[in-house]
Amino acid sequence: MSSPTSSAEVYQGPPHVHHMDPVTAYGAAKLGMWLFLATEILLFAGLFVAFAIYRWMYLGEFHDASLNLNWKLGTFNTIVLLISSYFAAVAVDAAQHADNKKVSRCLMITIACGAIFLVVKYIEYSAKYQHGLFPQFGGPNGIEFERYKSYFGLYYCMTGLHGLHVILGMGLLFWALRKAQKNRFSAAYYTPVEIGALYWHLVDLIWIYLFPLLYLVG
């Protein structure tokens, strides 16, 4: 690793980091991402705790509110995310086998699934907006919104924050995709795919909890 290659194009090994060897760098990146996932879980934990408490306080309102959600669209989105996670996992395996073409294909599917998820989410939000189930920007909220207590406040905060993470995850995977298109990955170096996929699985996992909470049990 200490011998520099003459041409950067042919160089298939890990990028040279001056202060640690590639094995350490890989371990560091992975540990860093796991820690970051822990912070993400704690970020969402506050929302889950709030949801648990208010659901307990206002069981009836929360139940009625959840009937406003379209469980078919929710199920569809869940399946879309599960498929995306599958392809993220396949991408990691392909990267370990230095099959950069397959990595590209898989990541494109994953990113496309993320986009489909967001479009469906947009359709759902629009429907809520038309029914007056939307908080008013800077003004008092409508009766429709307030009669369900904080259910829809939590709904938008939780799914909104999750949607933001979908976008961030897509960005991260896009970064890995660019590298795959430049044939960067090999058995010795596949860190970006690995940590990108880890992040994407978390995004998926959070939705796996959000979906039954918001759509099914209310």
């Binding site: 200490s2 001056h18 202060h19 640690m20 060897d21 350490t24 371990g27 560091a28 540990l31 860093g32 820690l35 970051f36 822990a38 912070t39 993400e40 704690l42 970020l43 969402f44 934990a45 506050g46 929302l47 705790v49 709030a50 408490i53 208010y54 306080m57 206002y58 309102e61 908080p135 008013q136 920007f137 800077g138 003004g139 008092p140 909220n141 307030e146 207590k149 904080s150 829809f152 406040g153 939590l154 938008y156 905060c157 924050l161």
Partner: protein, 556 residues
């Protein structure tokens, strides 16, 4: 493995080090060198320390005498002043405080690494910090523009308690956003440090040989990583509450303001350990060097550090003992809070035992370290008072609380930072500071600090509530003394900082690589260190604290 030219810095004559191997402002602003980033943090937090300090001095001047003292200062402006003092000091000064400055500078040096695990992320988190700090200034500015007076800046107290923070007409949304951004910086720094300590220790630097400061930084980094996201979501929800009215903390919509307090303190109690654990680490580095003795009970100190971090996560509701929580949980939180005293007392016992029959020299860092132990004893003991349910009913929201947390945060974290700045000053700057001025400044700080806050314990016992603009005449004497103390304290810090700044820039006395004959790794490289820290990666064969006797067996 390294073939960088910086490693070939000559031993005599023109020394190449991290300060001068690249020149110009741009090279500083884009440097991913942990040492330079530490210095950038240091300069930034010092600026905000001065701003927060000025706010405090205005408050103390107003409180010097009963009745309105400063003509231009309205009660609402006073609300703004104590809020800004708290928010700036907590979020922008003390939280990055020791970890981001000394931690950044020292951590890789102490474990024998060339840099932190993610150097670019490190620089990125500095810029996030800067963005957060500037956003906070902008929030103040915006509030002032809107209200055409300082009264519009931010008046919720640094705690942003709902429901008032939902209704306040001041720039709460922007300031909450600033604190959110600052938290993100803190998370990334913590994450970086945890990974660094796990992955980049030099050969032979086992966990049992790590300097206590590294243990303390590790515990701090874990708290930064795990607690900060919770304040992030809390502040984000507060912003959503103000912008959209989502109803989560708003009682009008069935929301629970006490939930805000739970979320807030779930972060903001552990955060006091983010502030003070690194100071514990600093003191544990200084005392053995100036006592010429190995640190007493190394393993107990390290485990106590982790225990404080762990227990610190479980005591948050002791800030809410009178907020209407159930008796059962109040008793639970009270008892767990008492439990924090045990590992803390272990540490104090170990510091004092390290000094016992040592060959003590009273250099400035040692004076600050000893002051720390003394002040922290008072801080910890009064904390036990406040954790006691019956007593807290009376003391809650009085000056007793104000005095208690200033003893922990200023007497602990700030004194710890100043101690660290003096102790590692030769390493950071390559110069020696003026010892006489430094000792004079120390005396002012120590006397001024105690004169400020000891009377406040008395005020609290007499029933003076915190955050009040004015008070009955019977509180006046103690308030006047407190104000005198605050100015002495302020002068002390001014002398100390000017002394350090002057010595760093214009000082003539060059520091040797190891002026205190410390055994710790950061002193085994040059002062100031070269860009890559060590000429070659060191191999560690000994414990860090083997002063004055053959190396002890560390059981590893």
């Amino acid at each position: 493995m390294s073939t960088h030219t910086a490693a070939h810095g000559s031993h005599e004559g023109q020394d190449i080090n991290y300060l001068n191997h690249q020149k110009g402002l741009w090279s500083w602003l884009t440097s991913v060198d942990h040492k330079r980033i530490g210095i950038l943090y240091l300069l930034s937090i010092t600026l905000f320390f001065i701003l927060g300090g000025i706010a405090a001095l205005f408050m103390r001047t107003e409180l010097a005498f009963a009745g309105p003292t400063l003509k231009f200062l309205t009660p609402q402006m006073y609300n703004v002043l104590f809020t800004l003092h708290g928010a700036v000091m907590i979020f922008i000064f003390v939280v990055p405080g020791i970890p981001a400055t000394m931690g950044n500078f020292l951590l890789p040096l102490m474990i024998g690494a060339k840099d932190v695990a993610f150097p670019r992320l490190n620089l990125f988190s500095y810029y996030i910090y800067l963005a957060g700090a500037l956003l906070a200034l902008f929030a103040v500015f915006w509030g002032v523009i809107e209200a055409r007076s300082l009264e519009g800046a931010l008046d919720t107290g640094w705690t942003f308690y709902a429901p008032y923070s939902i209704d306040s007409g001041t720039s709460v949304t922007l300031m909450a956003g600033a604190a959110f951004v600052l938290g993100f910086s803190s998370i990334l720094t913590g994450l970086n440090f945890v990974v660094t300590i796990h992955k980049l220790r030099a050969p032979g630097m086992t966990w049992g040989r790590l300097p206590v400061f590294v243990w303390a930084t590790y515990a701090t980094a874990v708290i930064q990583t795990l607690a900060t996201p919770v304040i992030g979501i809390t502040l984000a929800l507060l912003m959503m509450e103000r912008i959209f009215g989502v109803g989560i903390f708003n009682a009008d919509m069935g929301g629970d303001p006490v939930l805000f307090q739970h979320f807030f303190w779930f972060y903001s109690h552990p955060v006091v350990y983010i502030m003070v654990l690194p100071a514990f680490g600093v003191v544990a580095e200084i005392i053995p060097v100036f006592s010429r003795k190995p640190i007493f009970g190394y393993r107990a100190v390290c485990y106590a550090t982790l225990a404080i971090a762990f227990i610190g996560f479980t005591v948050w509701a002791h800030h809410m003992l009178v907020a209407g929580i159930s008796d059962t949980s109040a008793i639970f939180f009270s008892i767990i809070t008492f439990a924090v005293a045990i590992p803390t007392a272990i540490k104090v016992f170990n510091w004092v035992s390290t000094m016992y029959r040592g060959s003590i020299s009273f250099d400035t860092p040692m004076l600050y370290a000893m002051a720390f132990v003394f002040l922290f004893m008072i801080a910890g003991t009064t904390g036990i008072y406040l954790a006691t349910l019956a007593i807290d009913v009376f003391y809650h929201d009085t000056y007793f609380v104000v005095a208690h947390f200033h003893y922990t945060i200023q007497g602990g974290a700030v004194i710890g930072l100043i101690a660290a700045l003096h102790f590692w000053f030769p390493k950071m700057s390559g110069k020696m500071y003026n010892e006489t001025v430094a000792k004079f400044a120390f005396a002012l700080v120590f006397i001024g600090f105690n004169l400020t806050f000891l009377p406040q314990f008395g005020l609290g016992m007499m029933g003076m509530p915190r955050r009040y603009y004015d008070y009955p005449i019977e509180f006046e004497t103690l308030h006047t003394w407190s104000t005198v103390g605050a100015f002495l304290n302020g002068f002390g810090y001014t002398f100390a900082l000017v002394n350090l700044a002057y010595s760093a820039l214009f000082g003539k006395v060059k520091a040797s690589s190891n002026p205190y004959n410390s055994l710790s790794l950061e002193w085994q490289t040059k002062s100031p260190p070269i860009h890559e820290n060590f000429e070659e990666i060191p191999v560690i064969t000994e414990w860090t604290y083997g002063y004055g006797k053959p190396l002890p067996n560390t059981h590893h």
